[in-house]
């Protein structure tokens, strides 16, 4: 049966005062007006709200919305040895910014990054909840690493992320996703990506492992990606329009997460039309074992639009299911 999931991030504030409590709490925390426990408690209330919002919209494999992440790069770098966190840099072609990790020495996993957050969100019940980690190739590509050989930086980040996957699995995570958007900008690096993902996958144990590649297409490297030791391959089919043709012509044996709902634009997608396009892949890809999802994390949209996109994911999945 075609299922539904999200890529990871979700808007942490909305338009109402109640939906802006995290913004207020962070401002108060920065002023020293509230203690860390109070901030954490507000964060958790938002995580709960976001998980419930996803489930209510019919998302069968939600995430914690990455509510506590400062950004997808520095959130991990802060928990690794050998990496410092520096100034703001534009995140791909979005008008958002991340604090750039700077590699100062050997990179080593020091302590869990997302395990507590995943455990809390997962404890809210009602089915599995996907843990998300930023992939080693992307961490290395967006970090500053001076004269260090690139393959070594990627390998060390891969070992550090493998450490995180190991602790996630020990904490009971059954579904884990590795995000590698940077590869869409540099397909010729596929060998580096493949080695890095293999390193991470050594710690997956029995967990379902997905690799998600957004912000562009990976049409030229689909075969290499499909050969990886993963259970699911996530593709951006909005910014990565070329993925459609590649899937139609080459097919893919690995179940997919089909990022078909536009997560970068407020425009309402047409779920029937999107389902029709998806069904054109019938027979070429294992649709019945695949997921429908937004094209990337939903945090680039206002909250009410993100909510609408969740509903569109569910509607699209129903139309696809009906057409199978």
């Amino acid at each position: 049966m075609v299922s539904t999931t999200v890529v990871g991030s979700y808007p942490r504030i909305g338009e109402t005062p109640q939906e802006q409590r995290l913004r207020r709490a962070l401002a108060k925390f920065d002023e020293g007006a509230i203690a860390e426990e109070e901030l954490r408690s507000v964060e958790r209330s938002i995580v709960k709200e976001v998980v419930e919002e996803q489930r209510a919209a019919g998302i069968s494999l939600p995430t914690d919305g990455e509510i506590t992440w400062y950004d997808s790069q520095s959130h991990f770098a802060r928990h690794f040895d050998g990496v410092e966190v520096n100034g703001l840099v534009r995140y791909f072609d979005t008008n958002t910014y991340y604090r750039q990790p700077v590699v100062r020495g050997s990179i080593r996993w020091r302590e869990p990054t997302v395990v507590d957050e995943w455990s809390y969100a997962s404890s809210l019940g009602a089915g599995p909840l996907k843990a998300v980690v930023t992939g080693p190739y992307t961490l290395a590509s967006l970090a500053k690493s001076g004269e260090r050989p690139r393959h070594e930086t990627i390998r060390e980040f891969a070992e550090a992320i493998a450490g995180e996957v190991r602790t996630l699995r020990a904490a009971g995570a059954s579904h884990i996703q590795v995000d590698e958007p940077a590869i869409t900008r540099n397909l010729k690096d596929v060998k580096l990506l493949v080695d890095a993902v293999k390193t991470v996958a050594t710690e997956r144990g029995t967990a379902w492992l997905s690799l998600f590649l957004y912000f562009g297409d990976v049409a030229g490297i689909l075969d290499e990606l499909a050969a990886l030791p993963i259970d699911n391959l996530g593709l951006d089919l909005v910014q990565g329009q070329k993925n459609w043709k590649a899937l139609a012509s080459h097919g893919c044996e690995v179940p997919l997460t089909l990022g078909v709902i536009d997560a970068r634009n407020t425009k309402r997608d047409d779920p029937r039309g999107v389902a029709r396009s998806t069904l054109s892949l019938k027979g070429k890809v294992p649709l019945a074992e695949s997921y429908v999802s937004p094209s990337n994390g939903l945090e680039f949209l206002p909250r009410e639009k993100a909510r609408e996109k969740l509903r569109l994911v569910s509607e699209t999945a129903k139309f696809v299911e009906a057409g199978l």
Partner: protein, 322 residues
């Protein structure tokens, strides 16, 4: 005239104006009450620039919130979105293009005319560029990014014409998103050209915090008279490249880091200007901060501008420049 000093556009809003804007958004202050305070803050900034001797003034954008939504609020076919995150705990609203863009009337001309009336020195007309407007908007109407950028260019060209008719001699078109997608630099040139085509005023484009290495070959192709670049934060390394591949237009050279609380020392600024003078002739070199100063406090912004003007004066005196 050499080493003329100027600013990029925005100045910080004084605390009384920030409070008033919050009250206004809650409906606790009428439009006229807010306008009076915006005028007071603008008067103060014009007077300050005259007092310290800046050559080409800006109005400080005390009446604008975000540089993109300010235009979106005043265009037909455009709405403003809910909040989206920029980084950390900072959020902003984006334009949402829902129909064909139309300009019911001039957007910036009233404020420009009023503020120009406060000074005899030239005051820049300030527009947000078509590529940046497109890149920072949600597009629910136009079939492609190029179509939307060119639609913004059309309304911005009309706005620039109106500014010119009102007497503006310098028009700046900000393109901070210029290097967002390096495969779209031809579109930046095309859209900017559609705004500046046929204008008689001096045209400037400002950009910052981008991937200058990739953009560099396009600098001479940008259809404006002057390029305004953030140089002190990351760009001083570019000087060598400018030596090898000369810029064929004027440059406004950022010598003040707008993201730092620290006030630059006179020596630091003099050194930056001297380094720029190794490459650019003094009659084509303008001195300004890296970017708009709106994220600093009023005191920090004033101290930084004073230091900039004073250091520029020192360099001119030591070199006998006028």
């Amino acid at each position: 005239m050499t080493l003329l000093t100027t600013s990029v556009g925005s100045f910080p809003k004084p605390p009384y104006l920030t409070r008033a804007r919050a009250q206004h958004s809650k409906g606790e202050l009428p439009d006229e009450g807010l306008r009076a305070l915006e005028e007071r803050a603008t008067r103060e900034w014009i007077a300050f620039q005259e007092e310290i001797g800046i050559d080409i003034l800006v109005d400080g954008e005390q009446y604008r919130g975000d540089m993109a939504t300010y235009f979106a609020e005043n265009l037909g076919g455009c709405e403003v979105s809910g909040l989206v995150r920029s980084y950390g705990n900072r959020y902003y609203k984006k334009p949402v293009v829902t129909g064909e863009l139309e300009r019911p009337g001039a957007i910036t001309v009233d404020w420009w005319s009023w503020a120009q009336g406060l000074t005899k020195k030239p005051l820049k007309g300030m527009l947000t560029g078509p590529y940046t407007m497109m890149d920072w908007s949600f597009n629910e109407y136009y079939p492609s990014r190029e179509d939307l950028a060119l639609a913004f260019a059309k309304v911005l060209h009309a706005e620039a014409r109106d500014l010119e008719r009102a007497g503006a001699r310098v028009i700046q078109i900000d393109e901070p998103a210029l290097s967002a997608r390096t495969d779209e630099l031809d579109l930046v040139v095309k859209a900017l050209g559609a705004v500046t085509r046929g204008l008689e005023s001096k045209t400037i484009t400002h950009t910052c915090y981008g991937n200058y290495d990739t953009v560099f070959p396009y600098f001479n192709r940008l259809p404006v008279d002057q390029l305004d670049l953030e140089m002190s934060n990351s760009g001083l390394d570019l000087l060598e490249r400018f030596r090898r591949e000369p810029l064929k237009k004027e440059i406004a050279f950022g010598v003040i880091d707008v993201h730092s609380h620290v006030i630059e020392s006179p020596n630091q600024i003099r050194d930056r200007i001297e380094r720029a003078l190794e490459i650019f002739p003094p009659d084509r070199l303008y001195i300004d901060p890296d970017c708009g100063l709106k994220t600093r406090t009023v005191e920090e912004a004033e101290a930084k501008l004073r230091a900039m003007v004073s250091a520029t004066r020192d360099v001119k005196e030591s070199r006998g420049l006028r």
